[in-house]
Symmetry: C2
Subunit: 522 residues, 2 copies
């Protein structure tokens, strides 16, 4: 490959005829974003591969669709090439790239010559990562805030959702206009102070959906954090940044909030453990409110054991004997709200002695309406004064919710609250002293760009049960069957108020070693 | 490849016999760090390849040496494999890995069957990057500190060496014990305030060699930032983090200091532009001192144009007519202090009308001794009170320097200062109104782990010329000839005090479009 500064060719075999020209034709096509040429230079069919840090694309169609969406590759030049010739129709080309924006990357391509000339059958592309992944983080440090150095959480690192006060920093709430005007916090939010005192370090301040009012994780200003377990799918929100940070191994604890599912949904979509605590059990001092009647502190981890260890620090001490049993109850009508593959995976989490019950849930849609109305009413109480003159600073989806919230009357809110109160009583009675197992979300993570509204509606039918009840909920990761995608989903354990620690212990018991059970390697 | 949850095999060809077994044998060897087995499973010879984010290793020996040093791969499991069978003796295996610490990676291997069975001839390994590269950064943000939003540097991002005050943050000086006890800065360092007012954002606080007293860039506590242009070689210091941040594209401006070469050396090693300003020309308020007689503000960029644009913000306005010409002078005795390939590359930077002069430099070694003695004496004045009881907190190399500094007497310092004053006068006379071109460092970047002392001594013979003279110096990137490695080096332009702007303009002129000239692609 004589047309590059530094080239080696494998062993004694010469570089096959035409390969060098095809390699440079591909490079030119990439730099000019010539989609037709790129399509022609990648082998057709379902087994062609292209992988990068975002994930592996399988098949020519998926690769072509990706290229169509991305709008060109980063500017670069080739500074080294190495060719390993296999035979006159096959060769591997490894190229070192130098990016115009800085840093070096590597590109490994397997080329094959067929009827249509030389084509790539597999490509692996690596470029240097940015200083920080701004989809996940607003600020990170080594650490950002050091903990006490010792304690039960020593060695753990916290990704703090950008709705908690971090002393010395502003709180951004996922919106640039809010951030711009935000004061620097003098004190840490209460729970953050407890985590630091217990020895955990703060790794950084992680992204949230705007004003924490979304389940998607697709912030209009900073993008969707990646979902490593389900590439090219949404991360789930609104605790999106902390969830992705934990998935990626950037932090071990994701501190977030759950009003309508903002812990449970990202936990499910990304295969994490997550807890929404009993409403009112953990102090919300230093936390920006969304809907105080439902707002709760929550957190995400990669293991049930750590989820419980954080609970030992943040939860109030258990008072008196446990007010219930570990009897798990499954309600088919609730499972049926989820897609079949998610329902099956969640059912698989139920212990052998779980009981199945039919609950009178015909009012569930009305309960959800009431939940949404109270949530929206309170959200406007929380944010309306600031938003009144600047709804345009919000992304379309969240803006739509606030525009609706703004139209609600006090009468509507009162009526909804009456329904919600009734729902709370009913849910608490139904759950009683047992543990309800239901899906954390109605589906696996939707693909990026997919309309989230249908999934949002069906998911909230599930999440509003604990939300209305003010009940603790622990999401345990499960995986859908390989034939249906083998994607992460969540089984949600719900119990009576104050039984958070029982749920945390049950999550450890259900998952054996405290990490997700998945198909073993044969 | 039946032993993995999700597998596809390319086209219609079956997976060759024995490949699956070899793949899993490799995986087992990797997870147990069985170096012999790994060596056996990689093809022998000089063309075997293994690349990851740290760079491409070429040849079985280099790969084997790398494995011996690293002490095992991160724990992981294989969650997907795809095989593209080329013929019964060749196949590509693409595997998706799931790291125990979080995130997913990809591994692409070309396997060939020879007399010794199946072996890898090329491997490309990618793992998810950490939240921040702690070798480069202590804290980063999006941005960490927003600039004025408009101004001549709008859109630029600054990596601040961890010796400048950043309001709201501590100053770490490259030493964890100092950082632990450091107060939070109330105000920005003066130059930082100017950069922010000119529209630049602060990306983050970047690593420095300990107390800024080293040229290596190998901080004993946080490791060596990577040198993307010269993989597996040192980044140069002490402005190591800002230099690597700019090389990697994490920031566009690296704000640092230069006492004995701390801007010029990393600029040379990483192929960047860098300026050490006239001593005293730019305020050092808010900057931790090392040796105030020689300490200067400096910065690094990837283009000469931006280097000059920062100068327009930070340098005092030019007063009156330019006190010199652009006549470039080359002194063979100074070129001869560098390795032949560096000397040749630097000579190549000289314009056609450059003059060659023989300077009386027989006292240069004595001048350097005086420079080092004054530097060490002042370094102890700066840091001795704090270090007296805790020299053990320093890494070995920097500690050795301070242990020596502590033994110096005032008489020794005075004698050295007299020599240094004489050297200053002589250097200023020799340079006169022209521009001296000499190597920024005596060699290309040494390999990681190599003894730096010989290179340090020969490099300081070069860097002390501007240091003693208090002169401005601009390092312009050059590249050694491909046959001698094709690695970055630096040509250093030195002129009379106050001629910083002239040097910045000359750097733009010498490099045409303001970026480094390198061999064009044929």
């Amino acid at each position: 490959m004589t047309s590059s500064p530094a080239t080696t060719s494998g062993a004694s075999k010469p570089v096959p005829a035409g390969l060098v020209e095809a390699f440079w034709a591909y490079e030119r096509a990439l730099m000019t974003d010539d989609l037709d040429a790129l399509d022609r230079l990648f082998a057709p069919g379902p087994t062609t591969l292209r992988g990068d840090a975002a994930g592996l694309l399988v098949g020519h169609d998926a690769i072509s669709a990706f290229r169509g969406r991305r709008g060109g590759a980063p500017r670069r030049r080739i500074v080294q090439t190495h060719v390993q010739t296999i035979d006159e129709d096959h060769a591997l080309v490894v190229a070192i790239t130098e990016l115009e924006r800085g840093g070096r990357g590597q590109q490994t391509q397997l080329w094959a010559r067929g009827a249509d000339g030389w084509q790539v059958t597999a490509a692996h592309v690596a470029v240097p990562p940015p200083a920080l992944d701004t989809r996940v983080w607003r600020v990170v440090g080594d650490p950002l805030v050091p903990g006490a150095g010792r304690g039960p959480l020593a060695g753990e690192t916290v990704a703090v959702k950008d709705v908690y006060a971090v002393a010395g920093h502003r709180t951004g709430a996922g919106n640039p206009a809010w951030l711009d005007a935000a004061p620097t916090a003098r004190d840490h939010a209460a729970v953050l102070g407890q985590l630091l005192a217990a020895g955990a370090d703060v790794r950084g301040i992680a992204r949230t959906d705007e004003l924490a009012w979304s389940l998607a994780g697709t912030n209009a200003h900073t993008g969707a954090p990646p979902n490593p377990r389900a590439p090219y799918r949404v991360p789930g929100g609104s605790t999106s940044g902390p969830a992705s940070a934990v998935s990626l191994g950037h932090a071990t604890i994701g501190l977030g909030t759950d009003t309508g599912g903002s812990i449970r949904v990202p936990a499910a979509y990304q295969g994490l453990f997550g807890i929404r605590t009993t409403h009112g059990a953990v102090a919300v001092d230093g936390l920006l409110p969304l809907a105080p009647s439902f707002d709760t502190v929550g957190w995400l981890t990669r293991s049930a054991a750590l989820l419980a260890a954080v609970g030992d620090v943040l939860l109030p001490p258990a008072a008196g004997p446990t007010p219930g049993t570990d009897q798990v109850v499954v309600v088919p009508a609730l499972l049926d709200l989820a897609s079949p593959e998610v329902a099956a995976a969640v059912r698989g989490l139920a212990p052998a002695d779980a009981s199945e019950e039919r609950w009178p849930l015909e009012d569930l849609p009305a309960w959800l309406d009431a939940f949404r109305t109270v949530q929206a009413w309170e959200a406007w109480q929380s944010w309306g004064a600031w938003l009144e003159d600047r709804l345009h600073v919000l992304g379309a989806d969240v803006r739509g919710r606030f525009e609706h919230a703004r139209t609600l009357t006090e009468a509507q809110a009162s009526a909804a609250r009456a329904v919600a109160d009734e729902a709370r009583a009913t849910v608490r009675t139904l759950v009683g002293g047992r543990v309800l197992l239901l899906p954390s979300a109605s589906s696996v993570a939707p693909r990026l760009g997919e309309d989230m509204e249908p999934v949002r509606a069906s998911t909230m039918l599930l999440t509003c049960v604990a939300g209305l009840g003010g009940l603790p909920a622990v999401s345990v990761p499960v995986t859908t069957a390989p034939a249906t995608g083998g994607l992460p989903a969540g089984g949600c354990l719900v119990a009576a108020p104050g039984r958070d620690r029982d749920l945390l212990r049950l999550a450890v018991d259900l998952t054996g070693d405290g990490t997700e059970t998945r198909p073993p390697r044969p």
